[in-house]
């Protein structure tokens, strides 16, 4: 049977020369060395934590790869090293960083591969501002061609500029109208969950307006999107995301410290999973156990997508171009 005529489009992002692939591979090695030097200079300890664990992340938005071992039972590939690293901090590690693989089911596209590399770090005594400065400095070091001035904008301001709406105060109806006006075929979507509408607007209308070649730092998220960030005095989530153009590079948090907040969050997400008919994931009881004995030391943590930074460093348009073997050929 003949190939469809539009096969040229399907090759987009994959028609990469052998030389370009090897160049990306060498650049990856440089970035890894640069990142280690960066954290070394700042007194961070490099750590390794298991990518395979007996518990997982409860986030309803993440689909975890589940495996099974005849002796141990269910095991999960990590979606992020957050909980294990927090356990190390609780055990007295001090400031730590890690370069590790994370795995997320069903995430595949221009900026996504189900297996990807994260640089994750926690600065003890850091607040959000200090972490933003450090994260931008790291990105600038890894991708020096970027404009060196990052723009910091609140979540609210970013929505106001792009859409003229207030994502924190406006009623759901107003957000729904904006979605229908700015997102193709949004009227076909249920749009019954406020955060889902906000995510839709963020990915389709707000982030696409961010300038390419420069960093945009979005701060002060709605409390419903706090995850494990603490809330600031204005009741907003003390977290940030760093974008280059519409591509999200990093996600940072002034971390919640009390065990109660973690238990609460795990329960909320587990309930969401159940409501959506998603499988239960055993929660990290060891993290909760450690938090029961004492709060997490004051710290701020950030996860940076190394593959995406590498895309910037080599000018790639598809994540496949910077992976030795993208998932189709892995």
């Amino acid at each position: 049977m003949p190939a469809p005529r539009n096969s040229a489009a399907s090759a987009r992002g994959r028609a990469v020369s052998r030389e370009a692939r090897l160049a990306a591979l060498r650049k990856r090695a440089t970035l890894l060395a640069e990142a280690r030097a960066f954290f070394g200079e700042r007194g961070y300890l490099e750590v390794e934590t298991p990518v395979l664990a007996r518990s997982g992340a409860p986030d309803a938005q993440l689909a975890q790869f589940a495996l099974s071992d005849p002796m141990l039972g269910a095991l999960y590939l990590q979606t992020s090293p957050e909980y294990a690293m927090k356990r190390l901090i609780l055990a007295g590690s001090g400031s730590i960083f890690q370069i590790t693989k994370a795995f997320r089911q069903g995430e595949s596209g221009r900026f996504h591969n189900p297996e990807f590399t994260l640089i994750e770090w926690y600065g003890l005594g850091y607040d959000r501002e200090r972490l933003i400065i450090e994260a931008c400095a790291l990105i600038a070091r890894l991708a020096p061609s970027l404009h060196d001035k990052a723009r910091i904008v609140s979540y609210r301001e970013a929505f106001r500029e792009a859409l003229g709406i207030d994502p924190i105060e406006d009623p759901d109806d107003r957000l729904r109208d904006a979605a229908r006006a700015h997102v193709p075929s949004a009227h076909e979507l249920p749009l019954d969950d406020r955060d889902e509408i906000l995510d839709l607007l963020m990915t389709h209308a707000v982030a696409p307006a961010f300038p390419t070649g420069a960093l945009t730092v979005v701060t002060d998220y709605p409390p419903s999107q706090a995850a494990l960030a603490r809330l600031n005095a204005r009741g907003l989530a003390d977290r940030f995301e760093i974008y280059q153009g519409p591509m999200e590079l990093a996600n940072g948090f002034h971390e919640a410290t009390r065990g109660g907040e973690y238990a609460q969050r795990f329960a909320t997400e587990a309930a969401k999973r159940r409501a959506r008919g998603l499988p239960d994931i055993p929660e990290d009881r060891r993290l909760l156990g450690a938090l029961a004995e004492g709060d997490l030391p004051d710290c701020a943590g950030c996860a940076l997508g190394l593959d995406r930074v590498l895309m910037l460093a080599v000018g790639a348009t598809h994540i496949d171009e910077v992976l030795a073997f993208p998932i189709e050929r892995a």
Binding site: M1, P2, P4, R5, N6, S7, A9, S10, D59, Q61, G106, E107, S108, G109, R110, F111, H112, V183, P184, S185, A186, E188, L189, P190, D193, D195, E196, L198, D199, L200, M202, T203, H204, Q225, A227, E241, E248, N251, A303
Partner: protein, 189 residues
Amino acid sequence: MTTYSTNEFKNGLKIMLDADPCAIIENEFVKPGKGQAFNRVKIRNLKTGRVVERTFKSGDTVEGADVVDVEMQYLYSDGDFWYFMSPETYEQLGADKTAVGEAAKWLKEQALCLVTLWNGVPLSVAAPVHVVLKVTDTDPGVRGDTSGGGGKPATLETGAVVRVPLFINIGDTLKINTETGEYIARAKE
């Protein structure tokens, strides 16, 4: 009927949308690290050729369309239908005017075409990219002028009119690009 989850979306996948068969021509997965994932999809309606953008919540499912591309040989036309035969099964099918569309003016008996079938019925026909056709009418050739500059219209045996260099004569056979409708070269018999 097959259904596809957005996880299975890829370029070329044929799905049903608003009761029409469509092909995915671009699929972008977007997701805030901590939020809901969506698939932003560009879709070509295979009946109208029109391209629309749609947004799906990741994990949603859509019905697949029974659409296949098969290579078939053009046989003849009775004015209402254009008849094609599978060189493998010898099965014959008639494609109507809408399905044949622009391809009609390039079709010569025995040409191998790409016929897109929906539920077994021709939906569209793509003529071969290059065809060799005889000139049936054009102004007399200008001998020695091989510059190709200027040019003149020439009618081909299928009825198509293309712009050709001045030196072309009635009875010449020409190689034509059907995608651009442009003359490429004189063909040797």
